[in-house]
Symmetry: C2
Subunit: 117 residues, 2 copies
């Protein structure tokens, strides 16, 4: 699979995929005889995970660390688990933020209603 399809499937843009590869956040993307990238299903799964981690606020540094651990092998599973669990905690915080903002918006909108009469 080529980069255009990889982008469609993972949710990332073509440029972002190249950027992630360059910065070492994606393990081993093979190249064809034409020097162009060929994505395996494993690559797509990885990129998709990165997409969601990034979308929900994980910093590049952490993603990079996670990728390094992945490349070492099974001996790092415990550490990787900790990274993901920490991110799950982070999601809770984000959800609370959304709740808080939603309340604030409802409050503001109610005020506007009063002014308009």
């Amino acid at each position: 699979m080529r980069i255009a399809e990889a982008a469609l499937r993972s949710g990332l843009s073509v440029d972002t995929i190249r950027y992630y590869e360059k910065s070492g956040t994606v393990p081993e993307i093979r190249r064809g005889p034409d020097r162009q990238r060929r994505f395996s299903q494993e690559n797509i799964d990885w990129l998709t995970l990165l997409y969601w981690l990034r979308e929900t606020g994980m910093p590049m540094k952490t993603m990079h660390r996670f990728a390094s651990l992945y490349q070492v092998g099974d001996s790092t599973i415990c550490e990787r688990k900790q990274v993901l669990m920490a991110h799950a905690e982070h999601l809770k915080k984000r959800r609370a933020d959304l709740d808080r903002c939603e309340q604030l918006l409802a409050h503001k909108l109610a005020i506007y209603k009063d002014i308009e009469g």
Copy 2:
């Protein structure tokens, strides 16, 4: 009130407050005879709103537009309402993203459990 306290109350950093003022995203912050900023309660409310809008992903451009509308006066309330309602919609999308990511994390963590035995 001075900038340090304004930062504490709004959630923004001192630098970010200055940055927002410079880029025209905060209406009229008064200055004392020492040329230092003095924040009114209205300022704090505004900065707090900005904090939550930004925290939940509203781009600077939109916040800036919202600020411009605010400075025109009550005649723009309808438009401002639309900005906030659009953002409320955006919050729903974010919540769906969090759900999706949470599922993915749960799935990955389950796989790790299997590997570890």
